[in-house]
Symmetry: C3
Subunit: 140 residues, 3 copies
């Protein structure tokens, strides 16, 4: 059995957005007991991660780390047409994930106790931004 | 045909643990000729990589590189509740992989000659630690 | 329905090679309407990324970034048997992707407007080098 759907995340500037419940709720409706879930983001300046979901400081520290490793406005970058966060957003996207594949077990996403699914918006847009995500469930 | 099973890696401190044979042995029993294998780790401070399997120095150098790029005890990190290697373990996990998807061809994992599957334990626990891995095989 | 095939990229030194059309053309022949495409590279010194495909400066900047983050000839590396770019190639491979999984929607790869599929050759071989890629399509 296959189920595929698309949804939009309204990001409000750089940061991580929890999409775990959105995906798990759809899985419950799909009625698949065992198989795989694929989550895919259709952008090159936003990405997906599985991250510790208990202490928000973990996600703040991830931002701190990335800001240190890939600084905005670094003069080594040539592609700056959309601003100082443009090329760093592409680098952050390449270093994390465009897609996650997660097992389905017992009708649920088989995530570990502390694993949440996050869309990571890497652009600093002050206004809301729409990010498209496709989820594909497949199994019995 | 779907086959899914879970196993545990007993890690003994930071380092890489070869799980290629464990997975290939199960695939031989599953009797799937062509398809995909998904390997998933249920943690946010351990991860998975495909890595050169001939010279152990490659994996030592990966440790050296990570220790340099994400130093333990870096004062920029706020999430330090479990010690100086706590937040670096989460960063290392995000920069590598929670899941690997590998083709099955001719009844075997279609790995390159030098590709091994490794669980990478990022915590420095001096005592053994259990890490859960789910493998999902799917194919004809 | 499953379709699996293998092809070779002839790389000519370090850099990114667009393989989007190669894969999409095969998908059109496979006649799969909805499902998933898995792209896998059988090497540990070349990798796969989804990257912005409009401005070539983005890929030049990715090279600049990687050359800065993982410098060739860094004396911290022990595995140097094939030259100063040997171990950096393995690190770059681990930090990017051995496999990409992309949804198939409406008979096509459901890539975003600016997403291209690239093989990233990390070795500086002056002579052409063959890189093997396996593509697995699965769906209805």
């Amino acid at each position: 059995m296959w189920r595929q759907y698309k949804f939009t995340v309204r990001s409000r500037g750089r940061g991580t957005y929890d999409i775990t419940r959105e995906i798990n709720d759809h899985l419950l409706q799909a009625g698949i007991t065992m198989g795989l879930a694929n989550v895919f983001v259709h952008h090159t300046s936003a990405s997906l991660i599985l991250c510790e979901n208990a202490d928000p400081a973990v996600r703040r520290d991830l931002e701190t780390f990335m800001a240190h490793m890939v600084p905005d406005g670094d003069p080594m970058f040539e592609h700056i047409s959309e601003g100082p966060d443009d090329m760093p957003a592409h680098v952050r996207s390449v270093l994390t994930h465009n897609a996650l594949t997660i097992p389905i077990t017992g009708g649920q996403l088989a995530l570990g106790t502390w694993q949440g699914i996050y869309l990571w918006e890497h652009r600093k847009h002050p206004h809301p931004h729409s990010r498209s995500v496709t989820v594909t469930f497949h199994g019995d």
